[in-house]
Each structure stands twice: as C-alpha cells, then as structure tokens.
Symmetry: C2
Subunit: 200 residues, 2 copies
DNA sequence: CCTACCGATCGGTAGG
DNA sequence: CCTACCGATCGGTAGG
C-alpha cells in the first residue's frame, strides 16, 4: 500500500514535470499570453482542464517554470566553475556556460526572463531572489577582476553590458550560422577584459 | 467643400496617429497579446469597435506601429550623424543617440522589436526591410573602423554584441539610477574600440 | 466614428 | 486526471 502510494506520487511528479517542461518550451516559443493552457495540455496528451490539477493557475505554471529554469542554470554554472581559481579563466568559462544554457539547451528556460512582465507583482519577489543568486556569482568574479585592474569598466556596469551582449544572442544566434558559441564567448570576453600583454 | 474634405482628412489622420501612439505605448508596457483593442480605444476615448475603422486588424496596428517606430529612429540617427567625418566620433554619437531613442523617448517604439514574434509571417518582410536599413547605417561605420584597425573584433560580430549591450538596457535602465545614458554610452564605446594611446 | 452585436476562445471549476 | 461546463472577454463586423 505504501509502495503503491509512493509509485503514484512519483508518477504524479513526473506528469507535473512533463507539464512544466512543455509549458517552458511553448512559453519561450510563442510567449506566455499567446500560449493557452489547452496548447500545453494537448502537447502532453492531457484534457483541457487537467493542467489545473497540477498547478493552481496559468500564472503559477509560469512562475514554477521560471524558477526551475533559473535554478538549473545556476547549478550548471556552479558546476562549471568549481575549482577554477584564476578569475579570468573563471569568467571565460562562465560566459561560455551561460551561452550554452541559453542557446544549446533543449528547454531554454532562461529565456522565460522575457515573460516576467506577465507575472503578478507578488510573484516577482521570488523570481528576483532567484536571479539575484545567479547574478551574485557573476558579480563576485567581476569584482575580483576589477580589483586586479583587469576590467575595462566598473564591475557593475560591466556586468549589465555583458549580460546584454550574451542574452541578446537569443535574438539572432543560429546554430548553423557563421558565429559559433565559442567565437562569441571569446569576443565577449575580449570586450570586457583589458588586453594582457602576454597573450597573442 | 474641398476645404472641408481636407480638414476631415487631416482630422482623421490625427485620430489615426493618436491610435498609433497609444497602441505603441500600451504594446511596449503590457505586450501585444496582453493589450486589448478595447484598452487602446478607451485610452484615446473611442468606442470598442472604432479602432477597426482606422486599422484592418490588431496585427495591422502592430505592424504600422513597428514601422513608424523604426523609421523615426532611423531619421533621428541620420540627423545626429550628419556631417561627422571621423568614424570613431560618429560611432559614439550613434551609440548615444540609439540609447536616447530607446530610453528617453516618450513613445519608445523601438522596443516593439520584442513583439515581432506576434506578427504574421507575411508582415515580417516589411519589418525586416526597415530594420535592415537601420543596421546598414551601423554596419557602414563599423566597417570603416574595422578597416582602420580600430575595432576589437570583426565588424559584424561587433555590431551584434553592441546592439545587445544597448538594447538590453531597456531591461534595467532607470532614469534615476546610478548610470546615466552618457556613462553607459562611453563604456559601450570603450568595449568595442581599441584603446587609443593618445586619449586619457 | 458609434451602437449593438456575434462567434470563438480561454482560464478555470465541479464532481467524480 | 477526465467529463462537462460556465462566465468573461476578445477581435472583429454590420449598418448607419
């Protein structure tokens, strides 16, 4: 009996995850407002009303998708930079990893950032907390570089412009295009860092 | 009679413009899908069905707003750089002007770029033509700088990353914030250009 | 440009 | 998680 209950619970959690992933994909592709809960239900083979068994509302689905996306991006980033002591090498790794999360993921949840406008104001607090954790990882490395005189501008402004360069790629990057993610990452790093006389 | 007709026509054009400006403002603030044609009609003091006297459909309104926005940005840019022969000074002026169009305008039509997803595919061609004209102005100056060895990266990739830095500002810039548009423009230019030994 | 209106769709619920 | 359904809203139209 308790085994059956456990199996049911994990089945239910799986269905919830399916819903969450499909919602993320559709929200990113068509936008939150243009995606109907019926679209999502259809895509995972459910009936029109069934998503509301797993999520209280469509907004709840968006909120859950955004938080899951940011947190998974944060974990990828932390794993990638673990043990890299040199701040410049660390920054380069972070840039390349961030681009990967954004543009190579099968479920690019980070792009839900564009949909935060659709969130109720009370949900904004949670989202802000999650993105703050992500950005603090960057800020720490940028502060370290700035202290060493390795940055071309103030650390905070640099972070904002750097995020712009990288996040904007979702508007134009194509996997079969002329610019690879490695190339983009290198150029972005070049722009942010001062030239080092030793390299090239 | 012909005077009356002319007056009517210009009155009608004025109402159309009002509609267009209000639609732009609301689309930027709430997004295309979340803005109803009733919202727009209300905001200019019309009845729910009246916008459709001026525009065939809601999508038509978006298309017209986007083209008007891009073209007015292009004109501002052309006026600003007229007669600037030095490519570096020209680029700096373009950067500052672009930020102004984006963030200081009372009707920031350029931000409608985010809503192009909502356009029908046949409208995309016209929009692409308009944005291409805008970007060619940038590309020409960047090519000139690249030929003089003044750029830190290839001209095309530089343009894409530069647009990212600038356009992303709409996500975080606040008029009362610590960073002024002048400061942001200077830093963006610094990142893109090689250091000149003569300056500072 | 208003009045009056329609067909379709959508988020969400009740009850099992 | 399905069935059956509701209330509200929305883009758009007819007719003046």
């Amino acid at each position: 009996m308790s085994r059956r209950k456990k199996a049911d619970a994990s089945l239910e959690a799986n269905r919830r995850d399916e819903l969450l992933q499909m919602a993320t994909r559709l929200f990113v592709a068509k936008g939150f407002e243009a995606t109907t809960t019926r679209d999502i239900a259809d895509a995972v083979g459910m009936c029109p009303g069934s998503p509301f068994y797993h999520f209280r509302s469509k907004h709840d689905l968006l909120k859950a998708a955004m938080i899951a996306g940011i947190d998974s991006g944060l974990q990828r980033l932390q794993t990638a930079v673990a043990g890299i002591a040199d701040p410049e090498r660390r920054l380069r790794t972070m840039i390349r990893t961030h681009l990967g999360t954004l543009l190579e993921s099968e479920c690019p949840a980070s792009l839900l950032f564009y949909e935060s406008r659709s969130l109720a104001s009370d949900a904004h607090a949670e989202i802000t907390a999650a993105t703050d954790r992500y950005q603090q990882l960057w800020q720490a490395t940028l502060d370290e570089l700035a202290a060493g005189g390795r940055l071309r501008g103030p650390a905070k402004a640099t972070r904002l412009l750097l995020f712009g360069m990288l996040n904007w790629c979702s508007q134009w990057y194509r996997p079969d295009g002329a610019l690879s993610l490695d190339t983009i990452a290198d150029l972005a790093a070049t722009m942010v860092l001062v030239d080092s006389a030793m390299e090239e």
